[in-house]
């Protein structure tokens, strides 16, 4: 009851001088608008990066490579455009591969989980994709089975290749971004459920085998998703491997070179730098999640720091505005305060009334800031994802992301700043001597 009275009184007093209140609210609005947009970008970028990190298997992911193969790895990070297939006579160039000894040595490194070792064994023979919709053929990318574990690959359409035993027998693929259009389909949805052909060459027998596969999903463009290449079901892998290795000695098929190994390490005991150092000491190279994400994060962090500084300056100005507004209000209402105190109002309550006024100013300013920011952010999100927009290629990347968990704490912080600004005038009001205040003209 009493609290309600205080709230009513505070808002009533704010309404008395509408213009001044509004100007103060606008000042807070400008600051909070800038910062909330920034917070929303921060959330948007981070959730996108987290999504991308999850597609790598999480923060503890590490990619192990023979020394000197970073160049190869970096080519996997940059999204490669579909390359038109032209039949070549020469075999592929051999990149450094891990020997069995190398793998044993890597497994001995402290902190790396030996059980997590997974080498995707890409089928890197000569091959192509083809569809009924186009005469052109396109060179195959990495063809790999989805690694077991916690991989969340963002999809633009469809589903991931099923992992259960029954589904492993179906010929299913998830295409890497870009191929849908190359293969002649209008939208990502159009190609789902369609059958395309994967052709692969057996180098010894100089024989081509074509396998029909169903497209069950299309990967969303991301920053790292291209490293996944085309995801294939076990059935497709087996069929392709049978074709590629026909005529080879069976040991050859079983001892395919490992060009890189995906593994996890103990993040509790080792920092990224420490584990990389340990691996370098053993004579290998490693890429961590930060290596893949670092550049992007650094870029956005820099932008966000700049915006936060702007927003903070604006908020500082707003806080001074609050102090000024309320000081004027204290001055104007000196006699009223004197009367309240003469009639037995406690200093604490006078303080509270002014503090609540300040908090109300903070509330309205930040609430308007949030509403307008959400409106503009939503417009901007659809603008950057529209065809030709700068994020059109990254459909899962929401530039501005507004969530209760970024808005509510933000508003509380603004109201707290407003409260802090309000304490100066509130203190001044609370400590007036009733009679002196009443005599004030």
């Amino acid at each position: 009851m009493k609290f309600f009275d205080i709230l009513r009184t505070a808002n009533h007093n704010l309404f008395r001088n509408k213009v001044r209140t509004m100007l103060t609210v606008i000042a807070i609005f400008v600051g909070s608008f800038t910062i909330i947009l920034n917070v929303a970008i921060n959330t948007g970028v981070n959730s996108f990066i987290d999504e991308q990190t999850a597609s790598l298997g999480g923060d503890n992911f590490i990619m192990l490579m023979p020394s000197g193969s970073s160049e190869m790895a970096s080519s996997m990070v940059a999204s490669s455009e579909p390359v038109e297939f032209v039949e070549k006579k020469t075999g592929e160039t051999e990149v450094g591969a891990f020997s069995d000894e190398d793998i044993e040595k890597l497994k001995q490194i402290d902190g790396i989980d030996a059980d997590s070792f997974y080498s995707p064994a890409p089928l890197s023979g000569t091959g192509y994709y083809a569809s009924d919709k186009t005469d052109k053929k396109y060179e195959i990318q990495n063809l790999m089975i989805l690694p077991p574990g916690n991989f969340k690959i963002p999809l633009a359409a469809g589903e991931l290749v099923d992992q259960n035993e029954e589904a492993k027998k179906k010929n299913q693929v998830v295409l890497a971004p870009g191929y849908r259009e190359a293969l002649g389909y209008e939208t990502d949805e159009d190609i789902i459920g369609q059958t395309i052909t994967i052709g692969i060459k057996n180098e010894i027998l100089d024989k081509w085998t074509a396998i029909d596969v169903e497209v069950v999903g299309v990967e969303a463009s991301g920053i790292v998703s291209s490293s996944m290449g085309t995801l294939i079901s076990h059935a497709v892998y087996d069929a392709l491997a049978d074709a590629v290795y026909e005529g080879y000695p069976s040991e050859y098929r079983d001892n395919q070179p490992n060009y890189y190994i995906m593994a996890t390490y103990d993040t509790n005991r080792f920092s990224e730098d420490e584990i990389k150092q340990a691996i370098a000491d053993a004579g290998y190279e490693a890429w961590t999640v930060s290596d893949m994400m670092g550049m992007i994060r650094t870029f956005f962090d820099a932008i966000m720091i700049v915006f936060t500084i702007f927003g903070s300056i604006a908020l500082l100005a707003a806080a001074i505005g609050i102090i000024n507004t309320l000081l004027m209000s204290v001055e104007e209402r000196t006699r009223e305060i004197g009367l309240d105190k003469a009639l037995g109002m406690s200093s604490g309550r006078v303080f509270t009334e002014f503090a609540v006024e300040a908090i109300s100013l903070g509330f309205w300013g930040s609430a308007f800031g949030v509403v307008v920011a959400m409106f503009i952010g939503t417009l901007a999100n659809s603008a950057v994802h529209a065809p030709g927009g700068f994020l059109a290629e990254l459909p899962t990347f929401n530039l501005f992301e507004f969530t209760a968990s970024n808005i509510i704490p933000f508003m509380i912080i603004i109201m707290f700043i407003a409260f802090l600004a309000g304490t100066i005038p509130a203190w001044k009001a609370a400590h007036k001597n009733p009679i002196d205040a009443l005599r004030y003209e």
Partner: protein, 256 residues
């Protein structure tokens, strides 16, 4: 002997500091009994309002003590002081002191709002007080839109809305015509019959005569006190002389 509701000892009030210092009250001693009506009279600037503010614990004396119901006011906690003013005291200020932008009703309910009473109860009590002063029909008016006399009556309504034990009234009839003035006087003495102690600052000799006791102030000193049991500043101040009874009859003395 009954304990006085308010007792002041060697009360001194100095306004300002150093070169601008002005002693408005010079060693005032006074005892006010429960249920008494006391008129404080004196020339303009003699210190009547100053004394009333000190008696009502609105201001702190420079020296001396104000003892309410046997308790030294300096010993009271701020919270007790606030409660005392809010529950037991009623004030009519010389300059009204209303919130001009609020309605008459809001002005009258203010003490109850501060007391934390419920809205419904606040309204009922305030309307009752307004009826008593004959202004129930003006409840919704802006306080600013009232005539001087009406404002004064609103202030009286505000002062009595909390059923005070002691009513302090600084010139309660100052702005009223004789008919309205009489009504207000009737109202005040009606309250006294119910046991309310009245402390009235006035220029109105008639009103002063109607009171049980007249205390004349001049130049910050009590120069005349109609009450026989009361000490005046004409006596040399003694230490702890509460029990001393000096029979003294309306001795008007000049300077001392």
């Amino acid at each position: 002997m009954e304990q006085p509701v308010i007792e002041v000892k060697n009360l001194v009030k100095v306004y300002g500091k150093r070169s601008t210092a002005f002693t408005a009250l010079k060693k005032i001693n006074l005892e006010i009994q429960k249920g008494e009506s006391v008129a404080v009279i004196g020339k303009s600037g003699s210190g009547k309002s100053t004394l009333m503010h000190l008696l009502a614990l609105l201001d702190r004396p420079t020296e001396g003590n104000v003892i309410v119901d046997g308790i030294d006011s300096t010993k009271l906690k701020t919270k007790q002081l606030n409660t005392l003013r809010n529950d037991d005291f009623g004030f009519v200020f010389q300059q009204f002191f209303m919130n001009p932008q609020d309605t008459v009703l809001e002005n009258v309910t203010l003490p109850l709002k501060i007391a934390g009473k419920r809205r419904k109860e606040r309204r009922e009590l305030a309307m009752k007080a307004l009826r008593t002063v004959g202004l129930a029909d003006r409840a919704k008016f802006k306080a600013n839109d009232l005539s001087g006399g009406q404002k004064q009556r609103v202030c009286i309504a505000r002062a009595i809305v909390n059923n005070p034990k002691i009513l302090f009234a600084d010139e309660p009839t100052g702005n009223l015509d004789s008919t309205t003035g009489e009504k207000v006087i009737k109202l005040l003495f009606g309250l006294q019959k119910k046991g309310v102690t009245l402390i009235i600052v006035t220029h109105d000799e008639d009103l002063a005569k109607m009171c049980d006791r007249q205390v004349r102030i001049s130049d910050g000193k009590v120069t005349e006190d109609s009450a026989s049991q009361s000490k005046t500043s004409t006596k040399k101040p003694k230490k702890s002389t509460t029990k001393t009874k000096t029979a003294k009859n309306q001795t008007a003395k000049g300077e001392n």
